[in-house]
Symmetry: C2
Subunit: 233 residues, 2 copies
């Protein structure tokens, strides 16, 4: 009888995880019920519940009422990626951040955007192009389209001194988002913005956000050559 009384749900969580990893409970097998585990660990069922809920959140087990708790077949590991503001990313690497607005105009939604965002074909959108620099070297080109109907305040926002990403985060948090990473080859315009040559490989992040089901903005963030997105988990 070990006497760690203080830290119960973590003890249960870690021990169950250990048994899964050492195949005491093999993939696909059924775990004991919460009540049985509570008895084994001499704790309340709620404690076991919390432990198993965390393991379920982390993708180690799958729980179904009446069926019980099963070890997942493929421990799908989820990586958490932080999508940070250009300013934050630059400052994090101890560089000087500079922002420049390149273009800003109100247009009616181009056809490709209409289908991407699923808005009316004649919806008014604010089109913004801007650059983020780190130590005066190009860091990221941001091209963005904001649906004015969803975020009317954007039309009067001052985007001369900080970017639309920053403004939107503060003024109109999104409720859903979708991201896509891809590798692209710089065309002439992009190469000029990034101070490189045509054909250079760069990583591009496209993000679409919605606010309460209303399409809000589509953004294309192109990073300087050599940029790397990292994460631990």
């Amino acid at each position: 009888m070990t006497e760690q009384r203080r830290i119960s749900f973590q003890v249960v969580r870690d021990e169950v995880k250990r048994r899964i990893e050492t195949r005491v409970w093999p993939q696909g097998s059924l775990l004991p019920t919460e009540t049985q585990l509570a008895e084994e660990f001499s704790c309340a069922r709620a404690t076991v519940n919390r432990a198993l809920r965390e393991l379920s959140d982390q993708g180690f087990v799958e729980r179904k009422r009446k069926s019980g708790t099963r070890v997942k077949k493929e421990p799908r590991k989820q990586a958490k990626l932080e999508i940070s503001l250009a300013r934050q990313a630059v400052e994090q690497q101890n560089s000087d951040y500079r922002y420049a607005l390149v273009e800003r105009n109100v247009v009616s939604s181009p056809r490709w955007l209409t289908s991407q965002l699923n808005v009316d074909p004649d919806a008014r959108v604010l089109h913004i192009v801007c650059m983020h620099y780190a130590d005066n070297r190009p860091f990221q080109l941001e091209e963005r389209w904001v649906v004015i109907e969803t975020v009317p305040e954007i039309e009067t926002a001052d985007l001369n001194h900080s970017g639309p990403h920053e403004w939107l985060l503060n003024a109109a948090p999104f409720t859903e988002a979708e991201i896509a990473f891809s590798a692209i080859s710089a065309d002439g315009r992009l190469a000029e913005f990034m101070g490189t040559t045509t054909g250079t490989s760069m990583i591009q992040l496209e993000r679409t956000t919605w606010k309460d089901g209303q399409p809000m903005t589509f953004a294309r963030l192109t990073h300087h050559p050599g940029y790397c997105i990292r994460s631990k988990y």
Copy 2:
């Protein structure tokens, strides 16, 4: 007095979230204590605790003992990415999956790997090169180094019919991992493997994994041109 009695912690969570998003509780402000909220919602403190814990996990608030719960300055920016097996990714897009082992040999750790993984300079590692195809078109080139001391069973594993990634997931789950995405330009060898031309942009995922603090494997997964990593959140 609404009478939704059944779904309490979600009600509290969503209402608090709503107040944050509508700036009833502005960024950086202090929320009422758990006890006060429990009173307002006429529920137990544990219920409020669970609601606030979820919001804290999702990055909406920050909690500290004695200080209380504060609305985070810059709301959640975490995307969850699933790192799936090549086979899964291929099958998910309804293509036929094919695997081919290209190379397999035991070497002593090259210098760059030694520093990457922090292993002994003379550690034995298994070096594997293999290809994953979707409908017979190149999908992913996998190049991998596995520290034999950490996973001795790998030396006798049959890697002729399924990839090392798959084998490792089933036989030796990792405990920590680090990933890095970048865009690269194909060199001659890579272009040949991917059936494309030198200089083509491709997305590359480098992943290092550890098992209980011991370095396990370093993998470099290069995806076919046009490949896109997607996620919703």
